[in-house]
């Protein structure tokens, strides 16, 4: 059988087109599944207004430092395309219940409560000490977090892994956390303590801009990773 030149060219084009189609389908099949429509992170800068929080050694109040850290983290997350809801944007009083209401309305995939301390070193990660419970249609307000404790521990693991990998010392703990105990989202209280060397020598206070930027960068990367993990079945 002899093909004319035109026929041969048409067959070649058809084969190339089919190949491209198969390749495209293959690439599509290998790509990760599409991200969920919304990935929201709630950032709760602790204290504010009349509630000054702790008094740091250089005269700053905890409420001011948590707000600065909140703004820094919010910017980093927004730059990575993550939707952020904050419980306060200025020096204002927000009650524990109001903070929980903001978080619960946002249907967030991660809720981060930011604190600052003068004692200890590195970053302290705290999860609610409520016993895990099955989620029900109506959860008691004071213990709503019980249905999310397992996810909160998983989120803490992700943050701990990222911080440790970045060389930051991390201490983990569980405690009653008013506010967080009423949140229906994976929630962690993050307390930024001074940065110290192995021999306990102080290298950076919590209100140090570079130190804050370093920790906020690691937290943003960890939350990005958390978003990816959250997509997996």
């Amino acid at each position: 059988m002899h093909w004319s030149r035109r026929e041969f060219r048409a067959v070649c084009l058809a084969v190339i087109a089919a190949g491209l189609c198969v390749t495209a389908c293959g690439v599509r099949a290998q790509a990760p599944p599409a991200p969920p429509a919304r990935f929201v992170v709630v950032i709760d800068a602790a204290h504010g207004g009349d509630d000054t929080g702790g008094h740091l050694s250089d005269g700053q109040y905890e409420k001011a430092v948590t707000l600065a850290l909140s703004v820094r983290l919010r910017s980093l997350l927004a730059a990575r395309g993550i939707q952020v809801v904050t419980t306060r944007e200025a020096d204002q009083s927000v009650s524990m219940d109001q903070r929980a209401m903001i978080a619960n309305r946002a249907s967030a995939q991660a809720c981060i409560s930011l604190h600052v301390a003068e004692t200890g070193s590195g970053v302290h990660l705290f999860v609610s000490n409520l016993a895990p419970a099955a989620a029900t249609r109506f959860m008691p307000w004071k213990t709503a977090q019980a249905a999310w404790v397992t996810r909160s521990l998983a989120l803490t693991g992700a943050l701990n892994s990222a911080l440790t990998h970045a060389g930051t010392s991390v201490t983990l703990g569980r405690a009653p956390l008013p506010g967080i105990d009423s949140m229906s989202c994976p929630a962690v209280a993050i307390e930024l303590a001074p940065e110290r060397t192995a021999d306990r020598k102080l290298t950076a206070e919590p209100d140090n801009a570079d130190y804050q930027a370093q920790v906020a960068g690691v937290l943003a990367a960890a939350l990005l990773e958390w978003r990816t993990e959250g997509r997996q079945p």
Binding site: H47, G54, E118, T119, H124, R174, A175, E191
Partner: protein
């Protein structure tokens, strides 16, 4: 010559002066006796010192957010309330020391009182009794610790440090008085929302939580 009525008046006045002097002397003597009697009621012998006993203190460390059991020998009174106060006083003395692993100023004087009461039932049945919480029949006790305001005012602020203080107090109480199952805190006799802005002081802490703490 003095008239007769004036002489009589003078005698009466003199007699009255003597009677008044006598009464005053008698009253002064009685006041002196009362004073001496008051002095007699003061203790004249030194209080008995209890023999030293081993107490287990759960000492907090800010470095690794941990509680470590530490044995201390100290005189412990027989009365459980006074015993609890003595043990907590020793724990807070350790925290007030210059080389403390969990520095908190105040020392032993920071614990004003410790009251031991039958623990209310914290189980689901507690709400069935109406307004008053049901007493448990397991013999568990609730310790109410009244802290001094100066201790709370001087306590460092922070989630980790405040949580460690509360848990070490609860754990130390349970280690030395095993029947203490629940702990509540007062500050100068009143309920305070938090220790220094973070640790919740409005709730009842279960000592079992400190035992099983990771």
């Amino acid at each position: 010559m003095i008239p007769r009525h004036q002489a009589v008046l003078l005698c009466i006045l003199l007699l009255a002066s003597l009677v008044m002097a006598g009464i005053l002397f008698h009253m002064r003597d009685r006041a002196h006796q009362r004073l001496l009697a008051g002095q007699d009621s003061a203790p004249t012998k030194a209080p008995e010192v209890a023999a030293p006993e081993q107490a287990t203190l759960l000492v907090a460390s800010d470095d690794d957010n941990s509680l470590r059991a530490q044995l201390q020998s100290l005189p412990l009174p027989a009365d459980p309330g006074a015993r609890a106060r003595a043990v907590l006083g020793k724990l807070l003395d350790l925290y007030a020391a210059p080389d403390a692993t969990h520095p908190v100023p105040g020392g032993a004087a920071s614990v004003a009182q410790v009251f031991l009461l039958p623990a209310p039932n914290s189980g689901p049945g507690a709400s069935k009794t109406g307004g008053t919480p049901a007493q448990n029949d397991t013999g568990d006790e609730l310790a109410v610790i009244n802290l001094k305001g100066s201790f709370v005012a001087g306590h460092p602020s922070g989630l980790e440090t405040e949580t460690l203080t509360v848990l070490s107090i609860c754990g130390t109480l349970h280690a030395n008085l095993p029947r203490v199952a629940q702990v509540r805190f007062l500050v100068d006799g009143e309920v305070r929302p938090s220790l220094a802005g973070h640790a919740d002081l409005t709730r009842t802490y279960l000592t079992a939580d400190t035992v099983t703490r990771p």
